[in-house]
Symmetry: C2
């Protein structure tokens, strides 16, 4: 499949946020050219007139629990710990592996509508999440949701080996090692995981310092904050990432910097669960890599990168000052920053040789006008209705409000409703 995009703006993100006029060529799953218009003898399968719209790298959603779509608008208006133990865990016990497959597909469709071309998904039954990714065309980095109650270190190792076997999988799926959180994991479990991480020189990812209570209880249990405790166990010796980080201390931030650990922001979930506002400008000042995630649809309750981007900037400003956390910096977090956190640097810019994960932003909408500053428009006034086209791995998965022909969206919606009705029965 050979696709040519022409007659538009391109934000390559190769060096900076410059927007140039030009065209972009895709062959199979890779970009083969991005730049000024030029002659070619290539015979195209499709030529897409951008009509002055903007082509840019897709957004990377660096923290998700996709299958939790079934809980959307079912468990709201509760603080995190009660929400988790009283509303979420009991419902999750009723999930079958097949449910996870269908519910993850629903989330993948939602990612497409928001221009999200890859997600970093912590959940159970990784083989089902992988199948959902392949069947919908989503790029997913799967992460173990290891805890005292779910999965074992041996299962993590098995999934790590199996899902990173690219001969078996199509190249849309990768797997990383992670665990749910300090407060759901015994020291013994974490020591076993650290041993595994060292064996494979693997980064480790986890929820960290999301609530004040979590930090206080860790200090009670272990005498130190979660970041210090996990670092002492050697879990961050090969980098990795922490989700939320609302209550990270200055010492914790130092550890993130020293160990090359990314922070992944989940602003809308932090508001909705009243966890607090992360010290985003402190993260920026420390020079640690910052990614952006939506969290799961039970928390926040949508999978919308435009909502998250506005919040990263807005919450950064309301906490630290209106001149902090500028829009352009946030756009980089939601694309390159997330990609780095997910080890997806092969699809974080539109340059020849990169994977073709991209999005067309419709500038012919009132919220993008006038064109004073396109990249700031995207962060400050963009919305999902500006997503005109989403391409993943060279394949158009969403265009003008329609999913690609291989997806029966209505069947996926029906299935999700059936699953939740069965659970409630």
């Amino acid at each position: 499949m050979k696709t040519r995009f022409y007659n538009g703006f391109i934000l390559t993100m190769e060096k900076d946020l410059s927007v140039v006029q030009g065209e972009l060529w895709v062959e199979q799953n890779r970009v083969i050219y991005a730049g000024s218009p030029k002659e070619t003898t290539i015979s195209w399968d499709r030529e897409i007139d951008l009509q002055g719209n903007l082509l840019m790298p897709g957004f990377k959603n660096a923290h998700t629990h996709s299958a939790m779509t079934f809980l959307r608008s079912l468990a709201d208006d509760q603080p995190l710990q009660e929400w988790l133990t009283e509303s979420i865990f009991p419902m999750e016990e009723k999930l079958t592996p097949d449910d996870i497959y269908h519910l993850t597909k629903l989330a993948n469709l939602e990612y497409f509508t928001s221009g999200i071309t890859a997600n970093f998904d912590m959940y159970f039954h990784p083989e089902k999440v992988a199948k959902a990714a392949e069947d919908t065309g989503m790029r997913t980095v799967i992460l173990s949701g290891l805890s005292d109650f779910n999965q074992s270190v041996a299962e993590v190792e098995q999934a790590y080996l199996e899902l990173n076997n690219q001969e078996k999988y199509t190249g849309l799926v990768r797997y990383e090692m992670g665990f749910h959180a300090e407060y759901t994991s015994s020291k013994k479990l974490l020591e076993e995981l650290a041993f595994l991480a060292h064996q494979y020189q693997a980064p480790i990812y986890t929820h960290i310092s999301e609530t004040q209570r979590e930090v206080a209880e860790c200090i009670q249990r272990h005498g130190v904050t979660p970041a210090v405790f996990l670092d002492q166990l050697g879990l961050f010796d090969f980098g990795g990432g922490g989700y939320h980080g609302v209550h990270l201390t200055a010492e914790d931030i130092e550890i993130f910097k020293k160990r090359n650990v990314s922070i992944v922001l989940n602003c809308s979930a932090n508001l909705k669960l009243a966890s607090g506002i992360a010290p985003i400008s402190d993260f920026m000042d420390a020079g640690i890599n910052i990614g952006v995630g939506t969290d799961g649809p039970a928390s926040n309750n949508s999978l919308d990168m435009f909502k998250e981007m506005f919040l990263v900037s807005g919450l950064g400003k309301v906490r630290s000052g209106a001149d902090q956390v500028a829009g352009d910096d946030v756009l980089l977090m939601a694309t390159r920053g997330s990609a780095k956190a997910m080890n997806l640097t092969e699809c974080d810019s539109l340059a020849s040789g990169q994977l073709a994960d991209l999005v067309v932003i419709d500038l012919h909408k009132p919220n993008m006008q006038p064109l004073n500053h396109i990249t700031k428009n995207i962060v400050y006034s963009g919305s999902k209705d500006n997503v005109k086209l989403t391409m993943i791995n060279g394949k158009i998965v969403y265009e003008d409000g329609q999913f690609h022909a291989g997806i029966d969206a209505e069947a996926i919606y029906r299935k999700a409703n059936e699953i939740i009705q069965r659970m409630k029965a």
Copy 2:
């Protein structure tokens, strides 16, 4: 023109947030029936199959400065006072009345895309704002932006009489009395305005307690907070409304309650300008009427009611607890609450005799599935891409991403770009 909507859900908001299956009939600019399917001999101009989607009253945007579209993404990352005096006021000086007409039209298109069927607009040259409303089909309540630097009380009176003359205007436009803010208005000016308000028994609207600095300076000048000061002048003797209210005190909230003054929340602007987080649950506890506004596109920078609704709930929770400011309450604020603040109670429910200002929410999108709780879905996971159709005063102004035939969107975009280029030259 007679339009029938059938085969969908209807949220009438007549009594509560119940969602029923049924149909809705519109004749000219009024709803003539909403309820269960029934036989009729009416000959319809158009019958719209809702295909299971949701019909609900349109959102009312209770605080705007529409013509400020030209400043979108031009003045960012500054605190409010510098932003206003260094970036906004100098650019506004270059505006012509015709610019205001064209730039307001651009904002009106953006309202349509977000399902906003009425706005409450504080700006200059009310006759131009009125013409923009009529030429695009927007319902606008126009508010004087009186201050020491703009307009006079005599001009306010003239506009009040002229724009509330319904024989001259089509019924889309009304006018209310307001002033910019305490910090831009002398006591003498406010006394004159209070005299006028008493003469016409008119409510008064203003920005109030948006920043800490504003409150501190008012206390320095007058010895009391802005709300106490304005109340002492008799400005709220016939009700009215305050915009922002981030730093209202308990005593101020009492005044709002006693004087029947609405509070209008502008959450995204408060984040982006780092003004703070309003005590939303305190407003609710006090039982004052609460509306929602986007503020102007130079502040926040979009005119998106979905963004605002999520923020009202999220900021309410992060300030006061996860069990506060529930989604359903917020949906009422953005519709009925705003309508009450704007004296638009004729278009706040879908009942026979009401004005036909309504929106069709597309439920056949992944972010609306499963249908666990439709009204919470709208607030917590809804977005502009769920707006399938917007009708104002019985006329469809936006449908499936297209504006009505009387609007040349590209010409409006071109004009907005020309205006800002001329100003920068």
